[in-house]
Symmetry: C2
Subunit: 621 residues, 2 copies
């Protein structure tokens, strides 16, 4: 009997997700895009990740009873990293255990001389000029406002009339040392801005109250440039070779960003004209296209950038429909294809300040890897992504409703789909789970070859054996029968799909090895491994280690950091002094061109193999 | 017999002017808009203003023979301040005795820490990026260019393609710390800019080589806003009360400036796109309209400014058709109607650095007066002008061809017109000459009343007496008979015209008195009086003193400084560090609101009288 995924409602926002039986609360919350802080790495030893079960039954583990005490347990308190879900429930996740921009900001700005919000408002009451005290409007304002500022011609044209109409009392809006607008009355308690993470495939925007650091609304869309090519290389080609190619890519993405802004403004009831700032990060190609700077220089050796540094541009010059005097700040890049999203991730993980050496792996359409600490940071980019996003996989798809996103091997196979709807295909995390399961059960060997079922007889259950089916010249592994699913076609993981996964994970693993060699360390020197990117949240650490995607280190050292790029953009939105920090990250981080490394092909070939199970030091999942 | 004006050709530019017999060379040169430096104030004692008579006979004075020696005299050398013209001649005026922006600049920038041209170019040869040295284009440029700069998005969009096309070698054009453009090859020897003096009535533009400080071409036009009102008050009313009034005034003047730019570009063969900078000064109303900032705040008490400080705006934002990335710098104002032209005059006369107290009188459509030295500067504005520009005078006209611009009393009256064409009317300088002559000959008394001819009989020649003619209830003074002149109508100065002149000169004189009182000085404490403005050049100092327009001090202390406002704009074009100087002038100079002075009406009434001849200390003209 196929187990029904279980409905979990998260309070106070009443978000609903569906999980397989035995899923822990951290993972369930991750599905709802609510990252939880795990100081002990999810080992259940620190007791910090306390949530409350408000409705339903979540059985406590003995370790929880010991740590929390009987009274708390009876009141429904559980540890999010330990407690597992077996039946429908409602759980309350308190604010203080959630990973928020405001919290990370506190850590990030430690040591900054001055915290300067990127939108600064000042309420003034001026004495109107008289014959005896005949001072120009702008000079009156300069005397009242405690900071130096520049005023553009458009604001100056409105100045007198605005002051006169409002009795010389109003709120000035300042951005990056420029007086950009006036608002009636005292509006200093409001400051709205949007942080954008521009992925090759997905765009995520967050409308924030820059004063409190609170997210007001979030919008996510598919990058409309997907119509012009799945990866950055094909888009660069399109920009170069099609008539108005760059313009079409530019207007496509700006158009979608404007839709997202409108949506967020509507949801939060914040007028677009009150949004004064956008902070945006993406890979170097995306950032270049948004600025309408041709990405041509990235199309051939030496894959150099036109602009590395961060850029601030008036929103109106990019056609972005926030307040026309508002500005868009685009992150600095590092070099080549390593763009602002990597800088942003380095900021939000605080890797640039770490004493110990850490590794951050961001698996998107491109894979970006950052290794190091406050003394040295090195980074590389590898075109690993498509397989993890479902591309080039025979029945692959992105993590959209109907995608098999989790696969658990028992005496049979349990699956869970995004949105809990009938399966339509398989996405990256489901593929990793499947291959890890096939490795553990011996269905594939370390070379990745699917074994004929007859050689496995007696070692596996019949239900599992039945799933190994002859497909063309090799075998495939059937996840779902045709009659159970959305489009009537059974879903297989084929031998070819496994090869694609091997190529993809080898690219990541080899890049990590090259960086480790450059740094003169081994896996064992890593104090932590961060899994970043939306995709990172959905990977089971044990399975990622089992297939050799990430280094074989104890699980508690592997941390999900969610959308680290988006978080970094939020931080800069809240604190513009961090711009110096990210410029430093941008110039200090070494960009490793893998094609220059003579070792890369070697490492890549080695990494094609799956790890030998004996070498896996972690316990089973 | 009416004397024929004499043709004088000035070399090397071959400019031709016509002068009355007995005119000195300084005055003739002034008519050709060539101001000459007179270190001794034109007393003939320093011997610096040496010119050469190349053709014709200019008789030497004994004083010249003594100072210059016989050999020099025989070679045609004369002193411009002494030698008088009685017959047609060609004279060569050497560069070194001319007042030029470059010379004044040398004096003005004395003590400045750094001379920074407002257009700065840098020729670079970059090493293109390689895989091993993978540096962004902008970073390559930053490393090569020895100054920090900002680069706008439009330049960044062109950067890579430009560098690639030109083998990473080109000239960067920088303005005010911004990289605004690239030029092919090494163009560092070229730097073009335009200085504009925007008068209420006249616009003057000078296209300059900002590298050498040389004027390349000059263009002058009538301010097209004249169609909307003769003075600033009527234009402010138009801006406020007509539909699109401000826009119409703005586009009118921008349109004419663009025509002037085109004309200058054509004459000098400098492409408009190679002009990167405009420096512009005018009164506060004109500057406001050019910036399209409503001058409404100047329409009523307290006549305050919206913006006092200097402003730099992209040319394209004002619709000015130089290089679109070029900028327009508009001078700071002082207060009320005292605008950038006064600041500019204070800069070019170096009054702000003077040890001794000086007075500068600029008589345009408005009269602006500046009194003081490096310790204190005070200024006032008075609506004196229209009479001096021919307005409200029965047969008045501006100094255009046909205007009587000079009148000499002998046993009859000699006149000279602009352009040496038949007379059509009288302009300001001709009116002052006429009234001064009538005062000296006793035709008018100190109250300004024209005496009946019968009371003058025996004291004046018959030819002069015949010119005093009954006009309505009083008398008029006939300058030209109808049959001798352009439009067949005789030209008179009427009793009413003399009253208008009295009102105008009283406004100036009373303002000077108020400023002197504020400063605690008298006329005798003035070390110099500067006559500024195009009109100033045409006034005979003796006559201006005789009618009481300017203080009664020795003539050698009265200096013509020509278009001081235009010169100041040129200085700032050549040296942008002077912007700090003019900001200091702008904030330090005290603006005296005459309407707040209880003394003003008193002084004004007193100044209506003409000075008693005994009190005039100077010798006759």
């Amino acid at each position: 009997m196929k187990p029904t995924p279980i409905k979990v409602t998260i309070l106070p926002e009443k978000k609903t997700v569906y999980v397989l039986p035995g899923t822990n609360i951290v993972e369930a919350a991750g599905k709802a895009n609510i990252p939880i802080e795990l100081p002990c790495g999810g080992e259940g030893t620190c007791g910090k990740c306390r949530i409350t079960v408000v409705e339903g039954n979540v059985p406590p583990l003995p370790s929880e009873e010991k740590l929390l005490g009987k009274e708390a347990i009876s009141k429904g308190v559980r540890l999010a990293c330990q407690a597992k879900i077996y039946s429908p429930c409602k759980i309350h996740i308190p604010e203080e255990i959630r990973i928020s921009a405001q919290k990370i900001l506190t850590e990030s700005i430690e040591g900054e001389k001055e915290v300067c919000p990127s939108i600064w408002k000042y309420y003034f009451k001026l004495q109107p000029p008289t014959l005896e005290r005949n001072i120009s409007d702008l000079d009156l304002l300069r005397r009242a406002v405690p900071k130096k500022f520049f005023a553009n011609i458009y604001v100056l044209r409105e100045l007198h009339n605005f002051l006169k109409t409002h009795n010389y009392q109003a709120t000035g809006v300042f951005s990056n040392g420029e007086l950009i607008h006036f608002e009636e009355g005292d509006t200093t308690s409001e400051a709205f801005g949007v942080a954008f993470d521009i992925g090759t495939t997905t765009l995520v925007g967050t409308l924030m109250d820059a004063k409190t650091g609170k997210d007001l609304s979030v919008s996510a869309r598919m990058n409309p440039q997907v119509a012009y090519g799945a990866d950055v290389i094909s888009r660069i080609q399109f920009a170069m070779n099609s008539a108005d190619g760059l313009e079409r890519l530019h207007f496509a993405i700006i158009g979608t960003m404007n839709e997202m802004l409108k949506e967020m403004a509507n949801v939060s009831k914040v007028p677009l004209k009150k949004i004064y700032k956008i902070v945006l990060c993406g890979n170097s190609t995306m950032q270049s296209i948004i600025l309408k700077i041709s990405p041509e220089s990235l199309s051939s050796i030496p894959f150099s950038l036109v602009v590395r540094e961060g850029i601030e541009v008036k929103a109106i010059k990019l056609g972005i429909t926030i307040n026309p005097d508002g500005t868009v700040y685009v992150f600095p890049n590092i070099g080549g294809f390593i763009g602002g999203d990597t800088v942003s991730a380095i900021l939000s993980t605080t890797q640039y300040k770490a004493e110990e050496i850490k590794l951050c792996v961001d698996i998107g359409t491109n894979g970006e890897i950052v290794l190091g600490n406050r003394n040295r940071l090195i980074t590389a980019s590898t075109a690993a992504g498509p397989a993890f996003e479902g591309a080039r996989i025979s029945q692959g798809m992105r993590a959209m409703p109907g995608a098999i996103e989790k696969v658990v091997f028992t005496d049979d196979v349990l699956i869970s789909t995004v949105g809990n709807v009938p399966a339509l295909g398989i996405c990256g995390s489901g593929l990793i789970d499947t291959v890890a399961g096939m490795l553990r059960s011996g269905i594939i060997d370390e070379t990745g070859r699917i074994q004929p079922p007859k050689t496995l007889k007696g070692r596996l259950s019949d239900k599992i054996l039945e799933r190994i089916v002859k497909k063309e010249s090799s075998f495939g592994f059937k996840l779902v029968d045709g009659d159970n699913i959305g489009n009537g076609t059974p879903i297989f993981v084929t031998q070819r799909d496994i090869r694609e996964l091997q190529l993809a994970k080898a690219a990541i693993a080899a890049s990590i090895k090259i960086l480790e060699k450059k740094m003169g360390i081994t896996d064992q020197d890593l104090s932590e491994v961060f899994l970043a990117g939306a995709f990172g949240n959905f990977i089971r650490r044990s399975n990622a280690v089992r297939i050799g995607l990430i280094p074989n280190i104890p699980f508690e050292k592997i941390k999900f950091v969610g959308n680290a790029a988006s978080l970094g953009a939020k931080l800069v939105l809240l604190c513009s002094t961090l711009r110096n920090t990210i410029e430093n990250i941008s110039t200090k981080t070494e960009y490793v061109e893998l094609s220059l490394s003579s070792d890369f092909q070697n490492e890549f070939a080695e990494s094609m193999l799956f790890p030998n199970p004996i070498s896996i030091k972690n316990k089973a999942p």
